[in-house]
Amino acid sequence: MIIVETKKIEELAESLAGKKKVLIVGCNGCVGIHQQGGERQAEELAELFKLDKVLKNVDTTVTSILRQCDKSIVKDALTDLAAEADAILSMACGAGVQVVAESFDIPALPAHNTSFIGVQERESETFYERCVACGNCILHLTGGICPVTRCPKSHMNGPCGGLYNGKCETDKNRDCAWILIYNRLKALGELDRLKTIMEPKDFSKKTHPRSQEA
């Protein structure tokens, strides 16, 4: 899932400065499933506008669509509403905001900072990053745990010297990815995989912006 965090209300007020009619659009795709940017969150954001000394003067319309990363859905669902607005405030991820932006002549602005591709673990309220979309998956070699994402140094050949009590030098609450991998491979009886030198990653596969035949 794509994980997002809502921008501060002051930042939203700044980006919407001078706009009188704003269409707030929730996205029921990834961010909606995780209740970060769906219909209810769009409505809640409009309520927050009423409490802000600047944004309370903005006339808001709230709607929500299936997926903002799909241009045909965006056009079908939003064309009439967009015609009545000065700006669109998109609750989608960065990709969704850009599809909305290229679909209409009025500005489309992000309500969120797009954080990462992640998961929510059942027992916690926290989202965890699990994939950086590196373009060259090695999960079959690392016990299903991604060192590119979960090691802050994206190391490919084992833990660094910053390992401390199984945790990472960057955050004492963050598990060392390579200890997770070591434990998992050991449990799977595949520890020999650790002994093979992994070659440097091919970052040409990650050159922005990427494209792929549908």
Binding site: P152, K153, H155, M156, N157, G158, G161, G162, L194, I197
Partner: protein
């Protein structure tokens, strides 16, 4: 007889007890800081490392002090980390360092950018230390990572780090084996104060043919000892050592004696040498070595 480019490797091969030191570049452009440390270490160390912005704190780079030291007659061990340079910059720096006379390089991962005084910086980590070791080996063998031939290959010996106190130690040993497979020729370790840790690492690396110089930094105060034990991964301070520091009436004397004893222990255990990180006690390194009786 194998050919050695550096005094460091010659010393290790000669079975002499080999002592390397370490230079801390200043936060600024004052070359006198380097000159002063060089003068103090030169009579006692066969070579000295120059750190590469440890913890990601911006200080003078590695190469300039290396050049200054070698002009003054102290061989340098050029530290290169993967934190700030991609594979293009790393390889290019190695070629330049060799052209300036560097004969030893220590290939490290590097501390993460968030640890230092520029936490906003983009961390690079294009390679890890195993891959960097392999890349430098390739250069020494005459080709870059793309397989392109070099006109003149750098003549350098490649060192790597080992953290003897990490728990669990097995993945560290596996990684160390990969570093050797990739082309490492010598190793220096994270600070060790506990002979049990030293004995364990000797045992765990007995199948590997590589000289390991255990790293030590003088414990200058009770505070430093407690800080190291609490914050530096893999570092444990034996209770007796801490007690000695706590009860000391002359802390500098105690520090010198503890360090001298460690150096002696390291030799007695059969290590080929020691890596001393003076952390400001450069002027006392000679005395520490003298009292250790290793020479």
């Amino acid at each position: 007889m194998a050919k050695y480019y550096s005094k460091l490797m010659e010393s290790v091969a000669s079975k002499e007890f080999t002592i390397s030191g370490e230079i801390d570049p200043p936060k600024g452009s004052n070359r006198k800081v380097i000159e002063h440390q060089t003068e103090l270490l030169k009579p006692h160390c066969v070579a000295a490392n120059v750190t590469d912005n440890p913890l990601g704190i911006v200080i003078m780079n590695t190469l300039a002090p290396c050049v200054i030291m070698q002009e003054m007659g102290l061989e340098a061990i050029y530290q290169a980390t993967c934190r700030d340079r991609n594979r293009i910059a790393l390889q290019s720096d190695v070629l330049g360092a060799a052209a300036l006379g560097m004969k030893n390089i220590l290939a490290l991962s590097g501390d993460h950018t968030v640890m230092g005084d520029h936490p906003q910086a983009k961390p690079v980590f294009d390679l890890d230390s195993v891959q960097l070791t392999a890349a430098i080996r390739g250069l020494v063998n005459g080709h870059d990572m793309a397989g392109k031939e070099l006109d003149v290959a750098p003549q350098m010996h490649i060192g790597v780090a080992l953290s003897p106190g990490l728990e669990p130690i097995e993945p560290e040993i596996i990684k160390f084996e990969k570093k050797i497979e990739a082309g490492a020729e010598f190793a220096q370790t994270q600070c060790v104060y506990d002979t049990k840790v030293l004995e364990r690492i000797l045992d765990l690396t007995s199948h590997l043919d590589i000289p390991i110089l255990p790293g030590i930094a003088p414990l200058k105060s009770v505070g430093m000892a407690k800080f190291m034990a609490k914050n530096v991964p893999g570092v444990t301070i034996p209770d007796e050592m801490l007690k000695e520091l706590v009860e000391s009436k002359d802390i500098k004397e105690t520090t010198i004696n503890i360090t001298a004893q460690l150096i002696a222990d390291i030799k007695d255990l059969g290590f080929p040498g020691v890596h001393i990180m003076p952390v400001g006690m450069d002027a006392e390194v000679g005395e520490m070595i003298k009292r250790s009786g290793v020479r």
